[in-house]
Assembly symmetry: C2
Homo-oligomer: 489 residues x 2
């Protein structure tokens, strides 16, 4: 016992030395040290500390509402009625809002959104999701038995990776993920003690996916683990690319040939901006390729309420569709998810509205279409603006932001800046982003948090700030980059 | 490729033979085979299949709203305003409802409950929770830095167990849990590959906790693992006991002496019914025992929106308070929870209302107090009714339901019934409950799903059905037990 009565470290049961070693290996840059410093700076500003800027602009995370995007009226009206059903008697609400709320409540135990739902998710919500997928995929059938509601897409991804993790040493499950990647993947892999297998996206070809690189990566991985699963994010996070039909078909052929389980993270499916780009779901193309593939390839596709035009991150809604999963494994999956009882019912209700929005002729239709169109048009404009302004800066090169919500530009860093970063034991792009934050209040995430080719440096920036703010941000960034380059040259 | 084009099992990537072996070991009786059969029977009834009963009565899970309990008006009004803030202009809602909604929205990014919150939970919610704990515990201080919002209590419990799991073979973390236990614990332990260490509650003394039994269990466990953590559920699930002040103090002395991490599941803290019983939080008693303990014992306490008088399970709200946790481990915990971004914002808002309900003098106060009192009085009546009727049945003996939402009566099963169960490869109490379900429509959970002393048989039954339905249920159960006993004698 130390003098002041506090526990000396060595007596504690749980210390960094005695805790779960896999948890220690987890890293999550999107909410890492740079974001923690940003929160601190915000507090300092509030306390009156003088800074060379008035506010912190957070372009580190795909959090649309926090950046001022308004919720879709129809969605929130239904949610209000689900929370407080007495409003069903209020003549202020349109009939389609009331009908949708009634339908959801009738599917809940005791007609309350406060009851547990079945662990797989509310029956009628799963049915609506299956109908949505069928419509989206030009008639390819979808079975509600294959739909599982989740607590955001992250929950679903981590759950499927958990099912897939087995073996020890050289037989340990390897998980192929793109580099750059969204760090949920590396974090889940580290936590599970699975093996991370990297394949690199081709920055020179707009972050496209080369099958030859998948082959290289797989071959190398087979030397030290059992690679069983390929993860793809399309549209891409953090790289904003939209994969072509050809590429997706090639990937499906590849996993079929190599006997890999396929995980398709398709949470940005409505976020496609670039001319000539289109979202193709893995499910649709799989079925178009014929029974040779559609009866064989094990695929899970993930969706969420958090992205697209709605940006409802706080509700933690999402679903996954499993294709060709062994029925016995499905039983295990249901057992596993039942331990957490159910995904949040409000998130399930919201997911239902996303897949079953107002229809033509319904009173809320026009407003809904206008709100959705406005958001997606704004995002498309901001995607273009971001690319254009960044590419005017010497030493920054930015691929077109074809989709999703991020740009991932490459930055040239002077040798002396790299040395300075080393002296501070920081990754060079972390040093760059931290300096940017301290000097301008702009909060970005260093490329090293997502992975990048050795010797290259990047940052991820969301395109979510309102247009006027985004312009200020981009111009401040331009100024900063020029100053930084000069200072360290 | 088989004739119909489906994948032959051995070609699949993910099969029961190749999946995560720890997941296979998970069991979760509360939503196990008996509940799946109940759902099936409900469907059959709907389809017109003739049964000896008209409806399935689910007394398997602590799901108050599903059993007809009404939500607390104030909570739901605030939730509606948070979902659709335009209602703030509606003069139908009382001022305290509006103020509470405004306060929550102001703490959300972009004033929207659709934004991500900080991973630890909304600042002002954590502050309100700390104030609540301080009030509840007679002034013992609580620091909002020690509060973490969770996705229901289950999420928090699984997260803390994850932090604690380390070592291999004889050094693997052992987790002491009561038998009978709530199967979330055994499931989380199995999933993590930790070691389950059982200690038995004393059925003869109303499911109390004997320190000598903890000592026996710990000593035995030290032979084959590294027992590091003791889990207590108080009030008890599935056994409904309320631990005495003396017992809790003894437990604290025990964990201090034996250097164990203490996890206190206190989600039923308002559900205390029996005369002479009172809820004592571990935190309060720890601090009353003086710095020798309060500066030493590592404690995490869990709470939830799902139980007590509100029963808001669907929102998946909850929090945990960590005491004496190593600051470096807290940093690891924050990193770990940040991978899932944040607990659902509506659940956080609801948790805020639970810890900060209407105050005397506010317009919603009287209604709130009436609603809360009514629910808790009803539950107390049903607790008594359950015990009384069950104890009139020869071959059933039921301890007083002092608290929580369950009775866990012991049932005598005739030798021939046990043989019959063996012939069907079922646990005897599973056979009993399954027969009960098929013949009466009553859905209970067999004691074997929670653990029990060898050679004893029990079931868990919630006290949640409305009083008139509960009486019917108990009388049908009585009739069934007599018939079953006769049939197999």
């Amino acid at each position: 016992m130390s003098q002041n009565g506090a526990i000396p470290r060595h007596e504690r049961v749980l210390t960094v030395d005695t805790m779960n070693p896999n948890v220690k290996k987890v890293e999550y840059a999107v909410r890492g040290p740079i974001v923690q410093r940003a929160v601190q700076i915000e507090k300092e500003l509030k306390e009156g500390v003088k800074k060379p800027f008035e506010e912190v602009i957070k372009a580190n995370i795909g959090d649309a509402h926090a950046m001022g995007q308004r919720p879709i009226t129809f969605f929130r009206q239904v949610m209000a009625l689900c929370a407080y059903p007495k409003l069903l008697d209020d003549n202020k609400f349109p009939e389609d809002v009331k009908n949708r709320a009634r339908r959801i409540l009738q599917a809940c135990g005791g007609n309350s959104i406060g009851a547990y739902t079945t662990s797989q998710g509310i029956d009628c919500v799963r049915q609506d999701i299956a109908n949505f997928i069928k419509r989206r995929d030009g008639g390819v059938p979808s079975d509600s038995d294959n739909i599982y509601l989740t607590t955001g897409a992250s929950d679903g991804i981590a759950t499927v990776l958990k099912l897939l993790t087995a073996g020890e040493g050289r037989t340990r499950t390897g998980v192929m993920i793109s580099i750059p990647q969204y760090p949920l993947y590396s974090a889940a892999i580290a936590e599970l003690g699975a093996v991370q297998v990297n394949y690199y996206l081709n920055e020179e070809k707009c972050w496209s996916l080369d099958i030859s690189e998948l082959e290289r990566s797989l071959k190398a991985a087979r030397e030290y683990c059992n690679p069983r699963v390929l993860c793809i994010i399309n549209p891409g996070n953090p790289t904003g690319q939209v994969q072509s039909k050809q590429c997706i078909e090639d990937v499906i052929r590849f996993v079929a040939k190599e006997n890999l389980f396929l995980m398709a993270d398709e949470v940005y499916q409505d976020n496609v901006y670039a001319e000539g780009c289109e979202f193709h779901s893995f499910k649709k193309l799989l079925f178009e390729m014929g029974p040779e593939y559609s009866n064989k390839v094990e695929l899970v596709s993930f969706h969420s309420t958090s992205k697209c035009y709605m940006g409802e991150c706080g509700f933690r809604g999402g679903y996954m569709e499993v294709i060709n999963m062994d029925p016995d494994v499905k039983a295990q999956l249901i057992k596993l998810v039942s331990v957490r009882l159910c995904p949040p019912a409000p998130g399930q209700a919201l997911m239902d509205l996303v897949v079953n929005p107002p229809q033509q002729g319904e009173p809320s239709y026009n407003t809904f279409i206008k709100e959705r169109t406005d958001v997606l048009r704004d995002l498309a404009e901001k995607a273009k603006l971001t690319e254009e302004i960044l590419n005017t800066v010497p030493g920054i090169s930015c691929n077109p932001v074809q989709g999703a919500m991020y740009s991932f530009p490459r930055i040239d860093l002077p040798e002396r800046a790299i040395k300075e970063a080393e002296a501070r034991s920081q990754a060079p792009d972390m040093f760059y982003c931290m300096t940017l934050l301290e000097e301008t209040g702009i909060c970005l995430v260093p490329g090293s948090g997502f992975g990048q080719k050795d010797g290259t440096y990047h940052f991820r920036m969301t395109i979510l700030p309102p247009t006027d703010k985004l312009k200020i941000l981009l111009n401040k960034l331009k100024e900063f980059h020029e100053k930084f380059t000069k200072q360290y040259s």
